[in-house]
Symmetry: C2
Subunit: 428 residues, 2 copies
């Protein structure tokens, strides 16, 4: 009997009415004689509300205790969804993370799943029950309740699908698939019938909020086909995320946009290290400072991107540029100030009026010329590019926020011209 895992996010179960709607989707799947495990998130904005409550008690809350608090959110969802399934005459049983055997490490708030011990769920499935599993949460070997961070329910679903050797994993959300770019930014955006893990990973990491990057990485490592589909269009099969062999090979599969970044530019003021003389020592001096800075970021868990160190000659000052998330901007600035001496007392420019536009596609690596083509498109459209970086299957450009729509439109117009693939090819 084919076995599948379905995941429903917080907006899909935000109230009693929506829970009943989700129950009907699950019932329809179950009727097709599938063995079925369902992963569910906390209702609507429950998690945010619980965090607010914790802050009211103790602004400097303990991560272990916050996990105990947050885990109640999904526990409420699993019991209500199970009751809703039972009201349809279906056999169903709920499982907290602990009961589902989701074993994690003990990094409270951002734990990693180490193992899924499926014996209880296997037993439930064997008895014809729909197993309703709490997403986002797990338990350590020593019995502490953990959570696996934002978007964690996607990761739970993929890990469970892998452990149960499911045929595929449906991720139900409020959009009906992966688009060439966010349709809210560009109405001509097209939905993809399928996309490779690698491309999806780059899109997710570049700001496409449709799917959590960690879950895509896990799906890639475990080779779990993931189908992204909409709770509100249950008959639509959405976008299939799969390996390169099964996915069509797009030159450019999509354009992601991240508006939550701030760019930093440090102009190192050339300066002789007082303890030594000669150019070599001066150079070492500021490189040493840069290295210290990057180490500090790593230690503090501050993720920076688009790091570029512009070469120097004797005439111009060396420059360090990078982007960071708006939330860590203050911390980044403080760290730079702290290492002011080591960095050669740089002039620091912070720019928060930028957007990061990433063009992703497996074809990019094969077509090196594309990088300059993208640069050309933006240049022809008079969009000034502040920074550009390239990866294996991604090109990222930093532009002023006023050029966001124009840049996306021009690149989309020029590169996302492949004919829409017939979605039925990937139908289940």
């Amino acid at each position: 009997m084919p076995r599948i895992v379905q995941k429903f996010g917080g907006t899909s179960v935000k109230d009693v009415e929506h829970i009943h709607k989700v129950a009907k989707i699950i019932a329809a799947t179950y009727e097709k004689n599938k063995e079925l495990a369902v992963v569910v998130s906390a209702m609507g904005h429950t998690t945010d509300k619980l965090i607010d409550l914790a802050k009211q008690i103790n602004n400097d809350f303990n991560p272990r205790e916050l996990d105990v608090l947050l885990a109640t959110g999904e526990q409420v969802s699993i019991s209500l969804l199970t009751m809703a399934l039972q009201s349809l005459g279906l056999k169903a049983k709920s499982f907290t993370g602990a009961q589902a055997g989701i074993i994690t490490d003990s990094k409270h708030g951002y734990s990693s799943i180490l193992e899924v011990r499926t014996s209880s769920i296997e037993k439930s499935l064997a008895e014809g029950e729909i197993a309703v599993v709490a997403g986002f949460q797990g338990i350590t070997e020593s019995g502490a309740i953990t959570t696996i961070g934002r978007g964690g329910s996607d990761t739970t679903a993929v890990a469970l699908a892998a452990a149960l050797k499911a045929e595929w994993c449906d991720i139900y959300t409020d959009v009906n698939g992966v688009y060439t770019t966010d349709p809210r930014n560009l109405s001509s955006a097209r939905r993809l019938a399928a996309i490779s893990y690698e491309e999806m990973l780059e899109l997710a990491a570049s700001g496409a909020q449709v799917l959590n990057a960690r879950s895509v990485e896990l799906a890639m490592n475990m080779q779990v086909p993931v189908r992204l589909r909409s709770t509100f269009e249950p008959d639509d099969i959405g976008t299939l995320i799969t390996n390169k062999m099964s996915a069509p090979s797009y030159t450019v599969c999509g354009i992601a946009c991240d508006t939550n970044q701030v760019s930093f530019n440090l102009k190192i003021r050339k300066r002789v290290n007082k303890k030594t003389t000669g150019n070599n020592n001066v150079e070492l001096h500021y490189l040493d400072g840069v290295s210290k800075l990057l180490n500090r970021f790593q230690k503090l868990g501050i993720h920076i991107d688009m790091v570029t160190l512009l070469g120097k000659d004797d005439e111009s000052a060396p420059e360090l540029s990078f982007t960071a998330h708006k939330q860590s901007a203050n911390k980044v600035y403080a760290e730079i100030q702290m290492l002011n001496q080591d960095l050669g007392e740089p002039d620091v420019a912070v720019d928060s009026e930028i957007v990061k536009i990433s063009v992703v596609g497996n074809g990019l690596s094969a077509r090196r010329g594309l990088v300059s083509a993208i640069f050309d498109v933006l240049s022809e459209a008079s969009v000034p590019v502040k920074m550009l970086s390239t990866g294996d299957i991604k090109v990222t450009a930093l532009v002023h926020q006023n050029y966001k729509d124009k840049a996306i439109e021009e690149i989309h117009e020029r590169f996302c011209v492949y004919p829409p693939t017939d979605v039925r090819v990937f139908a289940s």
Copy 2:
């Protein structure tokens, strides 16, 4: 180091402000160098709200799933209270029922605690942490989440105190002790410094809502001294509930009143069993019916009280009387109708305008004359008694609800005249 258990009910932790207040009470106890485990209920009306939510999903909800849902209530409380303790600079750790090793049977919604496996809590106490434990909930041997019914947090606290060999168990609530009768009914009610388990048990079973009867029974069996005290008067040591040896011997320790009862009176219409002839068979016929009825009640979990079967002679019809809780009145009536033939087609009278007044005291058994004295008092005051039953240390009278206050006042006036004991005798 002396070890104690403290329990805080839902009204004591109903919001953030109250949680901080409770944390301060705990901190004050901890400062006296005690090893301390704290049991806490769900915040305010959380449990009722969750039950409402379940009913919205599926009015015929599954008891296993309801337990999964309700258990989130205390899980929220333990994490918040632990955070509040940590904000005072104290070491604290939360424990769900499962983590605290509260092992129960699998009767969802009204489970019994079978065992408390204290190793995790012992470890926590040894590390100088305050262990914050979820009341009301436990886990079966096979890992299902259970709840132990209304008032269950009191039972958790007493069971934990017994398992941890605590010196005593503080039950904090919104009243400051056990009174001779409910002060809301009679302003001259006096607070008791101490009371025996047996007396407290009879008062609780007779409608005194101050403490859950199951928890008193457990305290008696485990010989755990319980101190009932108020969250709002933390310096007041309340009432000590202890064994007969330690408690003063009152003739009458208190008067409880239960306004949630309905009385049933069945006048059996004498009737010859068609299959036989002769009085003996007729008698067997209705007694057989009564037996069937009582068995049904037992099976359905309907608790009835004050069961009396009035003797019959050939002239008058036999009568069966009993009281039941208002909530089960409809079920009781339906069962009587179903057994109508077996019961000899009785005339059924239902009276919901009654109150049950119970007079409790260890001295009652020694002074048999008291029963008639109580009857005399009510008679002198022109309070008609509808029914009277006696137990080892309890006399219960059923009167019309209009006589409630008068009956309580007269009995209190006449019997609760012992001098108030110096509460300091029982101070910790």
